[in-house]
Structure formats: structure tokens, C-alpha cells
Symmetry: C2
Amino acid sequence: MDGSKTTPTPGESTSTPGAQPPAPVLVACAQLPLAVGDLVGNRAAADRAIEAAAAAGVGVLVLPELANSGYVFRDAAHAAELAEPLDGPTVTAWAAAAARHGMVIVGGFCERDEDGAVRNSAVLVDPTGVRALYRKAHLFGTEKAVFVPGDTRPPVVETAVGRIGVMVCYDLEFPEWVRDVALRDAELLCAPVNWPLFPRPEGERAAEVVRVQADAAVNRMFVAACDRTGTENGVEWTGGSVITDPDGFPLAGPATETGESLLVAACALDQARDKRIGEHNHVFADRRPELYSR
Amino acid sequence: MDGSKTTPTPGESTSTPGAQPPAPVLVACAQLPLAVGDLVGNRAAADRAIEAAAAAGVGVLVLPELANSGYVFRDAAHAAELAEPLDGPTVTAWAAAAARHGMVIVGGFCERDEDGAVRNSAVLVDPTGVRALYRKAHLFGTEKAVFVPGDTRPPVVETAVGRIGVMVCYDLEFPEWVRDVALRDAELLCAPVNWPLFPRPEGERAAEVVRVQADAAVNRMFVAACDRTGTENGVEWTGGSVITDPDGFPLAGPATETGESLLVAACALDQARDKRIGEHNHVFADRRPELYSR
């Protein structure tokens, strides 16, 4: 399964003239404490979050990056040992839960691909099964020693509640990558992340949150970034999960509490189809791609 | 004079092995109250700011967009009437002041070009004269009825204090445009802006400021955006001038006071030459341009 196969043609329109705007969907981020190597405990944490989200009426749930394995591996062999195939227990459980609850789940997992390579991957599952598999293309820190980067564009999936793009963590810091899903009409970008805590000036939001706000605003789409909480082998997580509107303002988060939490925001995803700012501007039509270099 | 002629080759290195890092330079934004059509008053406001900045030891001063003319024109004829050529009184005065005080000045002005077209332009002047002319490529709101957009890439100028990129206001909301000057080794991006005040949730920074923070962070360069203050023909300005470091955190501003103000920040511009994040990452080398579309 390849993310690019689920990717519609760029510019394909999804709006139906005369159709009623859909009701807002509840989008949630499950900010979880995970532990590297604790496959059973991590799966249980995701299960708890899924059941809580379903009980709250959530339509789209985002789980953190590497939600099956944890993040702070001893080495590449450790990651390989924890990796599982797309049809392994983690994604199978998420797909079953999506079908059971009629929801969309986007989560990150440590994947062993069909050639045995270890990938930092994310899936989008819905009641019909696995809709997209994405492999992180921009690797951070020691991930470079552990994972093979993906080399296909991030997926945009037409779901029952709207068009959803998927990427992972450091990918969000490349505006070209975010633009790519936006130009394919993603209304909501879901990003499993693991943001290590960096120092920041008193009173400032984490720079990762600020970049998510800008990602949303310049593309006029919703973004849901689901972070970790707690510490793991000496790495402290930012715990900065956030759901932003197309103006870039937070609808939920950034999370500040420690411990397990579920951020929920009602998102009228059809608002993201409107790329106009006032009467005279349109953030896509105003682009000058003929002048842009890569 | 064409901005592109002053643009060095992409990727050209400016560091000298073994050289001492230069002392931090004081960068300033002069947030001015301007009035459309008041050419004499507007020029006087810029003059006051230049003298105050010089007295404070400022090395790089940024003035607002359309600092000669004001912004809220009645119509295209009104803008044409206020426009002046590159060798008109405004840029001539700025160049003389730059020479007198040994400083760099970046300011926006309403330009009548060599063919008589009206442009929303910015110049970079230093003690040697006019180093770059840039014409805003992404026009906002009713500007589309008034100005001819530029069609050349934003300049990056090697000055005595560092490499400086120039663009104007809405240009900052196109990450492709910001990336372009960063990839040509701009250490500081100076942007004259006029940010009309939009509603925002209580406690939130203006979205324009957030986008500037992200522009800085994803490219690891300094950004100085110089806004207006006050109101003009019913348009209230955000007054959100800000100078950010390469992490995207504000060094000065965002301004909150109303009235004329000078924001000053000491910027060690050579820090922007280092695109590394930790041991394993480099925000340019980590890009995957072969996968990016335009």
C-alpha cells in the first residue's frame, strides 16, 4: 500500500454545488504518555484514548508519532525489533476501532515495510479500512540512523467528514510539504508528532506550535498536531498538542497540562475550502508559482 | 535598476574561514503614524525616525510600506499622483541619511517606474547609495487596482553588516518567497509592512506576527517587519512591528503601544549562517526539493 495511490489529482474539486454545508466534526488529539519498548502498554494507552474519543463523539482522532513503539530507541536494532507491518496488531486494532465507532483515526507507528526496512510511518484508517499509509520524508535527529525516509508525497484522503492530509512531525517544518497537501485541497492536516522540549523564552509558545499556526494560516486549512507528554529515557516532551483553525488560531490547546489528555475542537471543515481573504485575495490564486524556485 | 541584478548566485558563501564573528548589529523598526497624501509630513516622520535610530547606534533601520505616500488611496489616480521615481526626494533623502550615519535603511515607497507604472516598492540604501529596488510581487486587497505587481525575485544584498533580503508585507505570507531569500543566504529579512487590524481571539498575537515568527524559524534567519500605527481613512493598523531571532522568538516587539515607536534589537546576524538544529539536522540540507512541487 502506498500513500500516493490514495492521493487524488491535484486541484480536484470536492464541493457539490447547492449542497448543504456539513455539520462541524469533532477533531481530537490524544496526548499520550508512551514508553519505548512497551508495546502492550502503548497499545492500551491508544485504546483508552480511542474509547474516550468515541464516547465524546469525536469524528477524527489523531494519535502521536510512533504510538506503538515509543521514540527513544537504544539503536537501530531496537527500533527494528519493535517495528510491525501494516497488517500487524497496531493498525489492525485501529482499523477495527474506526469501524466499530464510525470514526477516522490517524496515528503514527514504527513500521517494518515489505522489504524489511524500518519506517517512521503514519496511517489513516476509517470504517472502510486503511485508507492511506505515509512514511515520514524529513527525519529528525537520531531517526536518521534508525529509519529509511519515505520518498512519496503526503496523502490527502477523501473521508466521510472531509479531505484529510497526513504527515509526521518534522515534516511540518517544511512549508513546501504543507503546501503540497493544501494545494490538493486538504481541509484538515493531521500530524502525529513527538516534540522534544527545547528551551524557550518565558511566556512564549513552543516554536513548533507557532509553526503549526502559520502552516494553517498561509494555507487557510485546519491543522491538528498530536504530541506526546511526559519523559522517556531522559527526553522530555513538549506536550504542545494543538488544533488550529484556518486563521491559524488555536481552537484547542496548545496543551499545557502534563499527563494524558484529550483535546477536542469542533471544526467546520468546509470553511477550509474557501481560500479567500476579503474581496480581493485568495491565498492560492495570489501565488506566483512561475517565480518560485524549488 | 533591477533587484535581480544585485542578487548573488544562489548558495554563494559569505563566510571567511578563520574570521572573527562580527559584533551584533542593532536592527530597528520605526513604527510610524503616516497619512495618505501628506508627502511632507510622512517624509518628516521618516526623518525623525532615522535621526532617532542613528542616535541610538542603529545599523539597520526598517521603515513601513509606502512610507512616502500612506496607504489608503482614493483610487489609482490618487496613488499615481503621490508616486515618485527612484531618484525622487524620498529615496534621495534616505540614501543621504544612510551615508551621513553609516547605516542601512530599508523602506517602502510608492514608486512611479521608468514606464510610468505605479509600484508598491521597497529600497535598500546604504552609505554607497541605492543597493536594491524591489517591487511587491503579491498584492493585497485594493492594491490590485492601484499597482502593477513586480515580477522579479526579492533581492538579497551583501552589506557591511550582513546579507539582507527585502520584501513587502503580503509577500511574507508566501513561504516560497521567504524561502527564496533564505536559500540565497539572507541573514536578515527586512520587510516594510502595513498590516490592517483584523479581529483575533483574546490573548492571541496577530496572525501576521505568528507568520513572521515561522518565516524566521523554518529558515533560521532574523526577520524585521516594520508596521504602521494609528488609523488612516477608517483603516486601523495592527501596529505589530516585530524583530525575531532565527528560532522565531521575538527580540523586540511585537509592538503593542500606539503612537510612534522605535523597536531596537541587537542581532548577531552571523548566527543565521548556521542552519543546523542539533547534531543531526540542517534546515536546508534536510529539504527534499526533488519531491516538492511548485
